[in-house]
Amino acid sequence: MDVFLQQTINGLTLGAIYALIALGYTMVYGIIQLINFAHGEIFAAGGYIGVIALSFLQARGVLERHPILGLFLAFFLAMFYCAFLAVALERVAYKPLRGASRLALLLSALGMSIFFSNGMMLCQGVYDKAYPHFFTSGGFNIGGAIITNMQVFIMVGSVILMVTLNIFVNRTRLGKAMRATAQDRTMSAILGINADKTIVTTFVIGASLAAAAGVMVGLYYGSVRFDMGFIPGIKAFAAAVLGGIGNLTGAMIGGMMIGMVEIFAAGYLASEYKDVFAFIILILVLYFRPTGIMGVQVDDTRV
């Protein structure tokens, strides 16, 4: 029983991280029908800004005196930087292709992904960068299962971010504009919604969430590397598809499912095939529900 409980906690932690990254994929897809392959690299960039900020604060001794403030600052800087990066990405690689075919846009995204990944390798080096030891140890024991502070932090942090996002999208004017643009860009533009501004907002939000996930991963696993965005990026994309691409709740459910399946496959079946099981679930769901778990059938004018 304690093993099962422990695996559930492991799965929820991993799932929360996938869900945060998946949200960025799904939002961008919802708005401009682009699979933003560079999203994984933005996540990695967030991890790097986190390590740079935390190491700097540690060297100054700020981290010892005000750990919460230091952590908050690291998250803020990472999210701010990645938001900026995503705006630049959109301006350079996607905006000029707004009228072009979707294939051109997709290739542009792939190119930017490779560019970012290698750029990080060139400027940050090929070696793992270690996060300062901080707040990563310690935890408590519930019925034989060990929950570390970091796991609690990741789960609570992701839930807060996701709830905030839901409130933003459903309750604010800008959120309403986003939903309108996602439904029909031409019609919403006729009604006076600035499509460019809405698209940029979407990229900013998606990138901030990915950056937060990047810092969390760095804190949780203890290090970051330039190529860390690739595999989680693919998994999160699968999660977004599983949940129904374009759907926010779907991305969260999809992320949690992929995380759980992966951990349980590793724990109870064979760990070398954990990715296989994750993708089998994806295929099965898509076979019976081609639009994903929460996806809805939409006609061509909207997709």
Partner: protein, 377 residues
């Protein structure tokens, strides 16, 4: 405009006049193969920098006799068989005399087929899988130790020194890690019970699933037959799950990065690695001084790559040409003190293993036990 045209013509004419002289200059081409990108880029760049250090020292001494300069072609083999083969083909086409590499055994094996057919000498600084030198290749040499020796050393340590009853073994299904894990299982025999034998994938980050599973089996030792990036992360996560098992690992996880990333989670981990020679030996000191001045702290395989390059260049200068058969027999006759160990080759091309057990203590690798004598170090 006219003066520009005259200038251009002069440059072209002079260029043609100088060109034959340049072509007459003899260039010694050597290559290296190691993962310069991807998750094993750290070790790969250590190897490249080791080769560069050796070449720089040779050039300072006046180069290789009979050649005007040494041209170095570092190739990215990415720890991938396919890419290693295409790098090998490229080096054969460039007429490289010798190659230092590759890092992963799974890249070295297919690449060595190509290089051996092309009569290019290959000296691997890091591939420890025994098959590398077991195929009777004339031009294949190994500067590091062998996995069958490494697993015997580890098994002897686990049985006689730690006196354990149960073990869990994790590998990542590549030629090197799986071969080593299989050898260890064989060497342990029925003295130690293998309670879990798990596999992960290269590039995985989250091991909480299998570590929870292993924790339930409660082994005395967790043996990580992995590469460095995964090993670092597994040590941290094992500590976090409060796994009681002692950690043990091998030469590919052995890297200064383990101390930096795993930090206190890595404390008490045992490693098998070729014993580094004393820093007082002049050859070792020369390497450390030259390497540290340019690249900082050497990685675990920098010194082996440095030695491999020195062996190659020494043999070429002894032979005084690029005849691969003569160079190969010259290498077989070499006896020299290197930066990694004292080097002699057996007929197969192996240079012998010097595996010792080390332990992480106070954030440093400390010599711990000698498998040959069975004594503490």
């Amino acid at each position: 405009m006219k003066s520009l045209r005259i200038l251009l013509t002069t440059v072209i004419v002079c260029g043609f006049l100088i060109y034959p002289c340049l072509a007459g200059a003899k260039t010694l081409k050597i290559g290296s193969m190691s993962p310069l990108t991807g998750q094993y880029a750290a070790d790969g760049n250590d190897i490249k920098q080791g080769v560069e250090t050796a070449i720089a020292i040779w050039e300072k001494k006046g180069g290789v006799p009979g050649y005007d300069k040494i041209k170095y072609y570092p190739q990215d083999s990415a720890c991938d068989g396919k890419q290693a083969v295409s790098s090998a083909n490229k080096l054969v086409n460039l007429d490289a005399v010798g190659v230092v590499g590759a890092y992963c055994s799974s890249a070295t094996l297919p690449a060595s087929d190509v290089l051996n057919d092309g009569k290019v000498l290959m000296l691997t600084p890091a591939s420890t899988n025994e098959k590398v030198t077991e195929r009777g290749f004339q031009y294949m040499f190994r500067v590091c130790g062998r996995d069958d020796d490494q697993s015997k050393a580890a098994a002897k340590f686990l049985i006689t020194k730690l006196n354990i009853k149960t073990i869990a073994i994790v590998d990542d299904k590549t030629t090197y890690t799986q071969g080593l894990a299989d050898n260890l299982e064989k060497s342990l025999g029925d003295k130690v019970k293998v309670v879990a034998r798990e596999h992960i994938n290269q590039g995985d980050k989250d091991f909480s699933g299998i570590l929870t599973k292993i924790k339930a089996k409660n082994p005395d030792v967790l043996y990580m037959s992995l590469y460095n990036p995964e090993g670092n992360l597994m040590a941290i996560q094992a500590k976090r799950l409060q796994l009681k098992a002692k950690l043990m690992s091998e030469d590919a996880v052995y890297h200064p990065n383990y101390l930096k990333i795993a930090k206190d989670a890595g404390e008490g981990t045992y490693f098998t690695f070729g014993q580094p020679p004393s820093k007082d030996i002049p050859e070792v000191k020369a390497f450390l001084d030259a390497y540290t001045a340019k690249y900082g702290e050497p990685g675990s395989y920098s010194s082996y790559a440095f030695d491999a390059t020195n062996i190659l260049l020494t043999a070429i200068s002894k032979v005084g040409g690029d005849d691969p058969d003569k160079i190969a027999s010259a290498i077989r006759g070499i006896k020299m003190q290197g930066a990694s160990k004292y080097i002699t080759f057996d007929p197969k091309g192996d240079s012998g293993s010097t595996y010792k057990v080390l332990v992480v203590k106070g954030g440093q690798f400390m010599p711990f036990w000698d498998p040959d004598s069975g004594k503490d170090l």
